[in-house]
């Protein structure tokens, strides 16, 4: 019977990293036997909508974790191998989620730098001879609340735009000759690729 031949052929496949790649291999193996084997037939065999399967195979969406074991069974993939795919899938999902969180946070930080003038105002005051290492003084000079100053200070420290060397020695790290609204915006924008790299 044809299906048995398939099964024997599939047993020879090596373990690949993701279940998506495994699905790819399965489809190719079937096509090697029957050139006219369609994605629709493959999808029907798995019991999934063919458009969904197509997106999965093109990495446009991930294999639903809960489908890995039933699909593996359908494809006669040994349960031990299916367990590996399921574990890999779970870890990948967790990592993708963590990375997304990190990126979301980073984007919010960068947008805050670009849209809230308090950051540049602080850096300007740090350079001024009258500077005092005092959030209340900064707040008064800038005309914002102390909390706004402190949130901005934390952000400038996190992003390395400000360094506090000693109690009264604050150093701004942009290296710009003049911190105008325009030069600051350009500085932040140009730094985007390198700071994004640091979030890895």
């Amino acid at each position: 019977m044809k299906s048995l031949e398939h099964t024997r052929g599939l047993r020879k496949l090596t373990l690949t990293l993701t279940f998506r790649e495994r699905l790819m291999q399965e489809l190719e193996a079937r096509r090697a036997v029957n050139r006219r084997y369609s994605l629709r037939a493959f999808a029907a065999m798995l019991g999934v909508d063919h458009a969904t399967l197509s997106q999965i195979l093109r990495s446009k969406r991930s294999v639903p974790l809960e489908r890995i074991v039933p699909w593996a069974r359908q494809l006669k993939v040994p349960p031990e191998e299916a367990a590996v795919y399921a574990a890999v899938g779970r870890v990948m999902e967790e990592q993708a989620w963590a990375r997304e969180e990190q990126l979301r946070h980073w984007a919010a930080e960068t947008l805050a730098l670009l849209t809230q003038p308090v950051h540049r105002d602080i850096l300007l005051l740090v350079r001024s001879p009258a500077f005092r290492a005092d959030s209340r003084w900064l707040a008064e000079k800038i005309g914002v609340g102390v909390d706004d100053v402190n949130i901005a200070l934390s952000r400038l420290l996190r992003l390395g735009l400000l360094e506090v060397k000693s109690a009264n020695e604050w150093v701004e790290r942009t290296g710009l000759r003049e911190i105008t609204a325009r030069s600051f915006r350009r500085y932040v924008t140009e730094r985007i690729p390198s700071t994004l790299e640091e979030t890895r």
Binding site: A98, A133, D134, V146, D147, N150, S154, R158, V164, A167
Partner: protein
Amino acid sequence: MMGNPVTHFQILSKRPDDSAAFYSALFDWRINADNAMGYRRIETGSGEGIQGGIWPAPAQAPNFVQLFVSVADVNAAVEKAQRLGGRVLIPPTVLPEGDEMAVLHDPQGMSFAVWRNGKPG
């Protein structure tokens, strides 16, 4: 100094005034922000346990609590934390009154601070 005790807790709040009002009403804690950073120090009114503070959190951050661990050398603690898989969030920073601190992420992504008291003794 012996050991590395937890000496301070810090509430990061998107609405620091509201947090201050809630905890002072609940526990009779006194909030004192009369210092250069405008830092809301929490005085629990007890010699037991540790004292704390409230720091404003940006809008996108969650509200959470950080523990401050006292160390003899902030730079050394940061380097050691990095070797162990921690990440620096705020590098060593000297506060206006001479205290030094750094904020780190542990390998699980939880943030905490290391702290060195600037006042002698």
